[in-house]
Each structure stands twice: as structure tokens, then as C-alpha cells.
Symmetry: C2
Subunit: 239 residues, 2 copies
DNA sequence: ATTAAAAGATAGTAAAACTATCGAAAAAGA
DNA sequence: TCTTTTTCGATAGTTTTACTATCTTTTAAT
């Protein structure tokens, strides 16, 4: 986990987990005030409920009990809110991964653990009161790729907005290379796992004929599929 | 290829390829008039140039030399235009696949051909004057998933708007099953190939550190990665 | 030649996406 | 504690987007 733009800190007293965010994502730090925390909390609730397209600062303000102008003091526009939430999620997930794979030596076991964390619904983490990780996970599934599928992707990338996502990919890619140093596509396989953990979930629930899990709708099946995919690919004794 | 909602027809005289479209996608058939064809042509040009978010009927009308109201007679809203273009593309691609794999018996060779067609840039097909397939391919890469990543996905699916995409997935899934009838995830592997053919392309060009092709930026490398991924997964002598 | 459909021209509305200003309240510093 | 700065709430206004409506002219079909 990089220390440049985000780090995970644990304050023992309050057991509060804080992900340090890229300051260019916001005009005023939303984690620094009650209003700001409410903006994050209700953004998650509203984007989850109505989708990103129907999410507006006006509606958000009404739900919080403040005004549109109040929101604009924190975020330039709703795209920045989405970038903030996705960056937060990837940072949080990388922390979960580094925490939960901490004393695992076998990279194969580690990789399995990572696939599990990627594909299984997050439980709401009590350590962050204003972020509902479970809803945020569903937002990432349905809206996450809209953060980068834009014409400004180059600009946003220059400003390091995708650093948490890229860092996570790097971590996963490195584990893949540990499993098999000769495997030729560790980065592409890493981004494939991450994207497919979410896309297969979306398809399973919305366009089930695109998956083999339409009947059961069990996340564990996505995990099994990804494990098969990954470990077939990186197996050492391939021709 | 299904005959219900779209079929490919070749008129020998004009050598004109026509993809039959789901009528619920439009208010007036855009292929039936000059204005309609211009709407398709300039929609492709403008979405490609500015991205779907900045694409408006006002700008489109100005480029064509008609009025906003004129566009609304053909399409209910811009989301329907995106659905139309994606459906058209998947229909066209399925035709290309069935045409180009026509007399191939070996399903493994067939699958390789499919991966090639999915991942390699389409050349502009002279048979359709008002659709630039090359630009459309790039639109599918950057905007394609926005067609289904919405809250209306269930409604849109009921109206069969994703049928061409699902049909293509089915075709690819069937080829996978032909290669190895015991492979457990043919549909999920099919949707993974299709999505990754596009996502790896987007990443390669916009967030290169998420791939192993950032240096060369060659589509042939994506093809190699997908071939390795697929044929490792479906290999019969796996443990 | 008649008439039905398509296209052009114009107007107007509601909501979204902002920007600007002002005064009250709350927090921070001296 | 008093003062200054920061934050917030309230209000107002602009531009653009996303439509709907109507009327007239042009084009196409019978």
C-alpha cells in the first residue's frame, strides 16, 4: 500500500479506520465535518438506490437537509463524488487484503483469499460509520467502471485519481507472479479478475443468461469460476 | 442468428448488408430515410469524438443540419440511441463471426477466429455506408457497458434490447462447449472473453499499467492473452 | 391531382448543473 | 472573553439539457 496518497491508519482508542484520500478529489475534506460525512453517507445511499445517472446534488441536499450550494463546497461535481467513492473503496479493499493475507506465505493460498475478498459481498465495516461498505460494494459493481469510462480518463489519471485501483491491480499481479514467475500476463490477469468479480456478479443478477450462475445466484460460484480461470492460466506445467 | 428480432440479409444487387433491429428501440426506423441514416452516422461520429456523456440531441441536430425535434421523431432519448448502436454492433459482429467461421470444423480453430474478431479493430465495412464499423468498435469499447449498467437494465432486458449481445454470448459459449463438453463455465467464460477483449483494449490505451501491453499497444497481444486464458481453462487434461 | 407522411421552423417547459452573494452560527485564535 | 476566520444556510440567478407541442412546408405514395 502506497503512502503517497492514501494510507490506512488505525486509531486504537476509537478503532476508527481512515483511508487517506487524494486531496484533488474534493474542494473541502468531507471526512472533516458532519456535513461532509453526511454527503458521503447519503451519496452512497442515493447512488445505490437510483443509480448514478439519476443522482443529483439537489436531491442529495434535500435528503441531508442542506442546500445544493452546500454540496458544491465539498465536491466540484458528481463525477468527483464517484471518483472519491471508488478510490475509497479500492483503498479500503487493499487494506482488507493486506490485513487478511498478512501471515499467509503460500502465494496460491493468498491468491485464493484475494479472489474471495473481491467476489464476495463486503460486510458493513463497523470501523467506518459514514461508509456502508456493503452498499458501496454494490455501487462499485454497477457504477464503478463509469469512473474511468469517460473522455477525461487521461486527465483524471494524470491527477492520480485511479492510483488506489492501479495499486490493487499491482498487488494482485505481484501475487500472480509469485505463483508463477514465468506467467506472461500477470497484470492483465489481475485486472481481468477484478473486473470479472464484479461483472459476473452484475450479469448473474441482471442478465443471468450471460453466466452459468443464473439459477443459484451464489457468489461462491463466481469464486469457483475465477479460481478455475486463474489457476488454469498460471499452472506451471502448461504446454 | 435469431430470426425473431434481427437477421442479416444480403441483397445481391446492391451488396447492402442490413441488420434487422428490434422495433422498440426507435420511434421511426432510422434506416428508412436519409435523415435517419444521418442520425446514425453523426451519432457515431459525435459519441466517438466527445463521449456519450457530452453527446446531446441538440449538438447532433446542429451537425446534421436539422432540429432537435427532428431527432426526437426517431429516438426517444440518447440512451435508446446507445442501445440501438450496441445492438447493431453485436448483430453485425455475430454475422461476421458466422460468415468467417462458416466452413471451419475444428471448434478450437473456430474459437481462435472468434477471439481474433472480438479483439481486433474492425475495418470499415463498405457494405454499410452510414455505419462506420471502425468508429463503432471504439464506441463499444468505451461506452458499450453503459448500455446495460443502468437501473433500467431489467426493463430494457424484458424488451429484448440485449438480445444480440446475449445471442453472441450463446454462440461463443456453444463453441467453448464444443471444444470441451465437460468445461463447467462456458457462458461465463464467453462473457469474460467478450468483455475483456474490450476492457483490455481500453486499459492498454488509457490506463496501461493495468495490462501487460502498455509498451507495444498491439491488439495482437490482447489476442494472445485471451487465447492463453481460454485454452488453459478449457484444456481437457486438467487436474 | 390528391392526400398522407415526413421534415423544418419555432416556441416553450422542467429539471440539471452550476455560480454568486449575504448573513448567521460555530469554531479557532489571540 | 473578545475577535476573526471559517463554515453553513438561505436565496437568487444563469446556462444547458432533455424534453413536448404546434404549425407549416416539402416530399412521397396512390
Amino acid at each position: 500500500m502506497s503512502l503517497e496518497f492514501y494510507t490506512a491508519k488505525i486509531f486504537e482508542m476509537k478503532l476508527q479506520l481512515q483511508i487517506e484520500m487524494n486531496k484533488a478529489l474534493f474542494l473541502r475534506n468531507p471526512e472533516g465535518s458532519e456535513l461532509g460525512k453526511n454527503i458521503l453517507k447519503y451519496s452512497i445511499l442515493l447512488i445505490h438506490k437510483n443509480g448514478f445517472e439519476l443522482f443529483t446534488f439537489k436531491k442529495l441536499a434535500e435528503h441531508i437537509g442542506t442546500t445544493e450550494a452546500g454540496i458544491y463546497r465539498y465536491f466540484e461535481n458528481k463525477h468527483k463524488v464517484l471518483l472519491y467513492l471508488t478510490a475509497w473503496y479500492w483503498g479500503w479493499l487493499e487494506f482488507q487484503i493486506s490485513f487478511q493475507t498478512n501471515n499467509i506465505k503460500d502465494p496460491n493460498v493468498k491468491l485464493k483469499k484475494v479472489i474471495n475478498l473481491l467476489a464476495k459481498a463486503a460486510e458493513d465495516d463497523e470501523q467506518t460509520s459514514y461508509v456502508n461498505e456493503s452498499l458501496l460494494h454494490q455501487i462499485i459493481i454497477a457504477e464503478g467502471s463509469k469512473a474511468y469510462l469517460t473522455k477525461q480518463v487521461g486527465e483524471d489519471n494524470k491527477q492520480q485519481f485511479f492510483k488506489p485501483y492501479k495499486d490493487l491491480c499491482k498487488v494482485v499481479g505481484n501475487i500472480i507472479s509469485e505463483c508463477n514467475p514465468k506467467y506472461k500476463y500477470p497484470k492483465s490477469l489481475a485486472s481481468t479478475i477484478i473486473e470479472m468479480a464484479h461483472f459476473q456478479n452484475f450479469f448473474m443478477n441482471n442478465l443471468p443468461s450471460l453466466t452459468d450462475f443464473g439459477k443459484s445466484k451464489q457468489e461462491s460460484e463466481i469464486v469457483a469460476f475465477l479460481n478455475d480461470l486463474v489457476f488454469s492460466s498460471i499452472k506451471k506445467d502448461k504446454l
